[in-house]
C-alpha cells in the first residue's frame, strides 16, 4: 500500500516543466545566419545532428522526464539534472561547431528558442532540487565556487567558440575589458563611498531620534527618482563645477561621464545602507547592551564590540541590495558616457544586434548574481556566528 502510493505520487513541478522540456526538442535548437545582420534561419535537431545522435538525445530527454516524475529525493534529482545541464551546454557547442564547419567565416550561429526553453526548464529543475536540499553554508559555498569554476572552464575551453556571441566578443575584447573595469568601478566605487558615509550616518540617526525621520524620508525620496532623470540632472552641477572650479576639469570631472554616474549610484546606495544600519542596531537585544554597559564598556566600545557585530547580518542585507541595484543601474550610465556593460546593451539596441545586447546583459546579470550569492553567504555566516 505504502509502495503503491509512493509510485503513483508524481512530481507536479516536473509534470509542468515536462511541457517546455519536451517541446524544446521539436523547436529550432540553433539559429543560423549567413552573416551578422541577416535574418535568422531556424535549425532543428535533425538539421544539425545525424539520425543516431538525434534518437539518443530524444531518448535521454524522455528518460530524464520519466525519472524526474517519480524520483523525489532532492540529492538524486540535483545530480541527474546537473548532468543534464552540462550535456545540454556541450550539445550547444558541438551543434554550433557542426553548423559552422561547412559555412563561410561570416556566418553566425546562436542558440535558438528550443535551446533556451530546454535550458530554462533544466535550470528551474536544478534550482528547485537545490532549494529542497537546503544545503549548509559550506555546501553552498562549494556549490558557488564549483559553478564559477565550471563556467570559467567552459568559456576558456573554446567549447562555445563557434557561437555568435563569442565572435561578437572576439571583435571587441579590448572594449569589453575596459567596460568590465568601468562597470566594476561604478558599482563598487559608489558602494564603498556609501559605506563610508552611510554607516556613520546610520549610527548617528539611530542615536538621535529627531534626525531619523527627516533623513530616511529624504533618502527614500532620492530612491524614488527615476535613474535616467537623476543621472541626467546631475550633469548640470558637474558641468558647472568643471567650467568654474580650477583643476576640476583636469581631474576628469566633466558634465558627462563617470562623475555624475558615480554620484547618482552613491545617492541611490545610501538608503539601504543607512536604513539597515538603523534597523540592525535597533534590533540588538536590550540585555546585550545592558550587559556591555555593566561590564564598564564605553559607548564607542559597546558600538564596536557589541552593537555593530550583532547588527551585521542586517547591515550586510542592505549591502546586498545596494550591490545588486548598483550593478544593474550602472548600465544606465552608458547613456551619459560613463562606460560599462550598458555600452554594449544600448549599441546592440541601436543596431538590433541581439548578440551585442547579450554581450552586455549576460556579464551584468552574472556579476549581480555572483555579488548577491556571495553576500547571502556572508549574511548566513554572520547569522551563524551571532547565535
Amino acid at each position: 500500500m505504502a509502495i503503491a502510493t509512493r509510485i503513483t505520487r508524481i512530481d507536479r513541478l516536473t509534470a509542468v516543466l515536462a511541457v517546455p522540456l519536451l517541446a524544446a526538442l521539436l523547436l529550432s535548437v540553433l539559429s543560423y545566419r549567413p552573416n551578422r545582420i541577416a535574418p535568422p534561419e531556424p535549425r532543428s535537431l535533425a538539421d544539425v545532428f545525424d539520425g543516431g545522435t538525434v534518437s539518443a538525445i530524444i531518448a535521454s530527454a524522455v528518460l530524464l522526464t520519466i525519472v524526474l516524475l517519480v524520483q523525489h529525493r532532492p540529492a538524486v534529482r540535483a545530480a541527474i539534472v546537473g548532468l543534464a545541464v552540462i550535456i545540454h551546454v556541450v550539445l550547444l557547442g558541438w551543434g554550433a561547431q557542426i553548423l559552422m564547419e561547412g559555412s563561410a567565416p561570416a556566418a553566425r550561429v546562436s542558440p535558438g528558442t528550443g535551446f533556451w526553453l530546454g535550458f530554462g526548464a533544466l535550470v528551474l529543475l536544478l534550482l528547485d532540487a537545490i532549494a529542497r536540499l537546503q544545503p549548509s553554508i559550506r555546501a553552498r559555498a562549494a556549490l558557488l565556487v564549483g559553478t564559477v569554476a565550471a563556467l570559467a572552464f567552459v568559456l576558456r575551453s573554446g567549447l562555445l567558440a563557434d557561437l555568435s556571441l563569442a565572435a561578437e566578443y572576439r571583435g571587441r575584447s579590448d572594449a569589453f575589458h575596459r567596460a568590465t573595469l568601468d562597470h566594476l568601478t561604478l558599482a563598487f566605487g559608489s558602494f564603498l563611498a556609501a559605506l563610508i558615509i552611510g554607516l556613520p550616518a546610520g549610527v548617528l540617526i539611530q542615536r538621535r531620534r529627531r534626525l531619523r525621520d527627516p533623513v530616511l524620508n529624504l533618502l527614500t525620496l532620492i530612491q524614488t527618482i527615476p535613474s535616467m532623470a537623476l543621472f541626467g540632472v546631475l550633469i548640470v552641477p558637474l558641468a558647472w563645477v568643471a567650467a568654474n572650479i580650477p583643476g576640476a576639469a583636469s581631474a576628469g570631472i566633466r558634465g558627462i561621464g563617470m562623475a555624475p554616474a558615480l554620484i547618482a549610484l552613491f545617492l541611490y546606495s545610501l538608503l539601504p545602507i543607512v536604513a539597515n544600519t538603523v534597523a540592525g542596531i535597533d534590533a540588538v537585544p536590550h540585555n546585550a547592551t545592558e550587559a556591555a554597559t555593566g561590564m564598564g564598556m564605553t559607548g564607542a566600545e559597546q558600538l564596536r564590540m557589541v552593537e555593530l557585530p550583532l547588527a551585521m547580518p542586517v547591515i550586510l542585507a542592505g549591502g546586498r541590495i545596494v550591490l545588486v541595484q548598483n550593478i544593474g543601474l550602472a548600465t544606465v550610465g552608458a547613456l551619459i558616457g560613463s562606460g560599462g556593460f550598458g555600452t554594449f546593451i544600448f549599441q546592440g539596441i541601436g543596431q538590433t544586434a541581439t548578440d551585442l545586447i547579450l554581450l552586455g546583459v549576460l556579464p551584468t546579470v552574472a556579476l549581480a548574481f555572483l555579488a548577491s550569492a556571495i553576500m547571502d553567504l556572508m549574511i548566513a555566516m554572520f547569522r551563524g556566528q551571532s547565535q
Binding site: 507536479r12 528551474l124 535616467m228 532623470a229 537623476l230 541626467g232 548640470v236 546583459v361 546579470v365 548577491s372
Partner: protein, 248 residues
C-alpha cells in the same frame, strides 16, 4: 512638512505641464546659445500621458498575475511550487530592469510593446513576494476561526486574508510602480513614447535645459505617485486594524 512637499511638487509638475512659458527664463541659461529652451517635438503633457499609460498597461496585468500566483502557491495544492517560486523571485531580482527591456526588443521589435513587456515582467516579482509575505503574516488562528464560523475557503481569502495582507500587497505594487516609472523612461531608447525622450534629446543635442525639464518632471511625478501609494497604504492599514505612527 508633507503638505509643503506636495504643494511644491504639484506646483513644479503643474508649471512644467501647463505653463512651461513661465519657466522659460529660469531654463534659458542652461540651453545652448540660440538653441530651443523648451522641448518642442511634443508637448510634455502628451508625453506624460504616454509615460503613465505604459506604466498602467504593465502594472494592471502584473498585479493580477503576481497576486494570483502568490495566492496559488500559498494554498495547500500549490505548496509544491513554493520553494521554486521563492528561488525564482530571489534570482529574478538580480536581473536589472534594463536587461529585461533590452532582451524584449529582439522578441517584440521596437516601440511600446517591448517596454510594456519588460515593465510587466519586472513588476511581477515585488508584487508576488509582498503578497506572499502578507498572506503568510495572517495569524493562523484568525484564518482558522473564520473557517470555524462557517466561511468557505474562498470567503476566508477574500474577506479575511487579503484585507489583512493588503498593506503589504500595496507596498509591493508601490515598489513595482516606482521601478516601472523609472524603466519607462529608459523605454524611450527602444522608441517607446515616454518622458525619457526629452532627456535623451537633451543628451544627444547637448541641451541641459531639455535634460532638466525631462528629469525634474519625471522625478516629481515619481515622488507624487509614491506619496499617493503612501496614502492608500495608510488607509489599508486602518481598514485592516493595524495602528501605526507612520504618516506615510
Amino acid at each position: 512638512m508633507t503638505m509643503l512637499r506636495w504643494i511644491l511638487l504639484l506646483a513644479i509638475t503643474g508649471g512644467l505641464l501647463f505653463a512651461p512659458n513661465l519657466l522659460e527664463p529660469m531654463l534659458r541659461p542652461l540651453a545652448p546659445a540660440g538653441g530651443p529652451v523648451l522641448y518642442n517635438r511634443a508637448t510634455l503633457s502628451s508625453l506624460t500621458g504616454a509615460h503613465l499609460m505604459l506604466v498602467v498597461m504593465a502594472m494592471v496585468p502584473s498585479t493580477i498575475i503576481g497576486l494570483t500566483l502568490a495566492v496559488l502557491v500559498s494554498r495547500p495544492a500549490g505548496a509544491e511550487f513554493l520553494p521554486l517560486s521563492r528561488t525564482i523571485a530571489n534570482i529574478g531580482q538580480t536581473f536589472p530592469p534594463v536587461a529585461v527591456l533590452a532582451l524584449s526588443v529582439p522578441l517584440l521589435g521596437f516601440g511600446s510593446l517591448p517596454t510594456i513587456l519588460a515593465l510587466f515582467l519586472y513588476g511581477l516579482l515585488p508584487i508576488f513576494e509582498n503578497t506572499l509575505a502578507g498572506l503568510r503574516g495572517v495569524p493562523g488562528a484568525v484564518a482558522l476561526s473564520a473557517r470555524a464560523v462557517g466561511m468557505t475557503p474562498g470567503q476566508v481569502l477574500a474577506q479575511v486574508e487579503l484585507p489583512i495582507a493588503m498593506p503589504l500587497i500595496l507596498e509591493g505594487i508601490r515598489i513595482s510602480t516606482v521601478i516601472a516609472l523609472s524603466t519607462a523612461t529608459i523605454g524611450s531608447t527602444v522608441a517607446a513614447r515616454s518622458l525619457g525622450e526629452v532627456i535623451i534629446a537633451g543628451l544627444t543635442s547637448n541641451n541641459l535645459a531639455f535634460i532638466v525639464q525631462g528629469g525634474v518632471l519625471t522625478g516629481c511625478i515619481a515622488v507624487l505617485i509614491y506619496d499617493l501609494f503612501g496614502l492608500l497604504i495608510a488607509f489599508a492599514k486602518h481598514r485592516a486594524g493595524i495602528e501605526t505612527g507612520d504618516q506615510l
